[in-house]
């Protein structure tokens, strides 16, 4: 299994190691991941204005590079995934956007949405298989009650993302079960963490993130796991305030696979203690 990989700015910068963690976990599962030679920021937010072209260009460049490599494009960050997948859909279905972007980017062959955009979780579920993941787990997280946090961007709008049931998703719970932990279902798992409001209106972001953490706690979660760096930040900094550990799910995976991930610095809390099967392990 081979994939082109779009890391995105966040996973290259402060949460850098979490990107590497995910890639090494993929390697351990027999997936070969090649980072795109050159890539630019995905644009961070999908431009909702239909006539907006400029902010879609860098996503298209990444898609074209993946098409040249003849590989599906793997993404890890929810925002990158959201932007690239939706831009790809525009390129496939909206002839107006397609024509304008192609005339601007001028690739050797016009791009029409041919690249398949795959999120890391989808890769695990559909290409590796959660059963195979479970078989390779050497340090299962037994006894851990893990609340998956999806946030918004992976799931919505479901018609564009086609990722999972937008109101009752199961993909993260599938992975949590595969690495030996017990998934916790709670109603706030697909409600917003506060997103970029954290810059503009910290109070509002705090209220939102705290609501997510409260809901997870009330349903008996020991910790929250997510794959989105922004959610990770908001839940950790604005929601949990030390009351509930929030992890990058791929780091939990890496630990379960016995890769002994080092704790990440700053906001991106990555657990290293899980391999010791210790349930109380605030980083």
């Amino acid at each position: 299994m081979k994939f082109s990989y779009f890391p995105g700015c966040t996973l290259k910068a402060e949460a850098g190691r979490s990107g590497e963690t995910a890639i090494s976990a993929a390697g351990a599962l027999g997936v070969e991941v090649t980072e795109l030679d050159q890539w630019q920021c995905c644009g961070a937010v999908y431009p909702l204005a239909r006539d907006e072209i400029a902010t879609k260009l860098s996503a298209v460049r990444a898609l074209i590079d993946a098409k040249r490599a003849g590989l599906p494009l793997l993404t890890l960050c929810s925002a990158c995934h959201h932007v690239i997948k939706r831009v790809n859909r525009d390129m496939a279905e909206d002839s107006d956007v397609r024509d304008r972007v192609n005339s601007y980017v001028a690739p050797e062959v016009p791009y029409g949405g041919e690249t398949k955009v795959v999120h890391f979780l989808e890769m695990l579920r559909d290409h590796v298989g959660f059963d195979s993941v479970a078989k390779r787990v050497t340090a299962p997280l037994a006894g851990q009650r893990v609340a998956a946090y999806y946030g918004c961007m992976l799931l919505r709008p479901s018609s564009a993302m086609g990722f999972d049931d937008p109101e009752n998703p199961s993909i993260m719970e599938g992975l949590i079960a595969a690495i030996g932990a017990e998934p916790v279902l709670y109603p706030q798992r697909n409600e917003c963490c506060g997103g970029y409001l954290a810059i503009e209106n910290k109070g509002a972001a705090k209220r939102r993130a705290s609501e997510v953490v409260r809901s997870a706690a009330e349903h008996g979660a020991d910790c929250i796991a997510t794959t989105c760096p922004l959610c990770l930040y908001n839940l950790t900094e604005n929601g949990a305030a030390g009351t509930m550990p929030v992890y990058d799910l791929t780091a939990l995976l890496a630990n379960a696979l016995g890769l002994h991930v080092e704790p990440s610095s700053g906001c991106a809390a990555v657990c290293s203690v899980c391999s010791e099967r210790n349930s109380a392990h605030a980083c």
Partner: protein, 130 residues
């Protein structure tokens, strides 16, 4: 400030006339309490051609683009797109950006490293300026 309602309709790419005024968007919105004009009123006012009144709305800056309204709308109206279109209009005059490059350094550490996820800065910058 002047705003062209038709521009907003076009750039939102959604048909606000399909709205049946059920209010599910505002029933789903997690940011409702932070808003002066909730999503259903955005749609309604744009539909009747009164987008200008929304340009100074607090809601422009408290919508989190979480797409709960888009996902749950039974009529396929995309309220978040309408809000975004008005937000873009509100920022189109010179100097109307909500976030400026000089606002960024407070989020940087001594060595220029980012104190928040880079994605957060990038998204906020994209949403709050143009």
């Amino acid at each position: 400030m002047r705003v062209d309602n038709d521009d907003i309709l076009r750039s939102s790419g959604t048909d606000v006339r399909k709205c049946m005024k059920c209010g599910k968007c505002s029933g789903a919105c997690p940011s409702f309490d932070e808003m002066d004009f909730p999503p259903h009123i955005f749609v309604s006012m744009v539909e009747r051609g009164d987008a200008a009144a929304l340009l100074s709305s607090k809601s422009l800056w408290t919508c989190m683009s979480c797409f709960a309204c888009v996902e749950r709308c039974p009529r396929g109206v995309e309220p978040a797109n309408v809000i975004e279109a008005v937000r873009a209009s509100a920022m189109s005059p010179q100097g109307a950006n909500r976030m400026r490059p000089e606002d960024v350094p407070v989020f940087l550490g001594a060595a220029g490293e980012c104190l928040v996820p880079q994605q957060l800065l990038a998204s906020a910058f994209r949403k709050y300026s143009r």
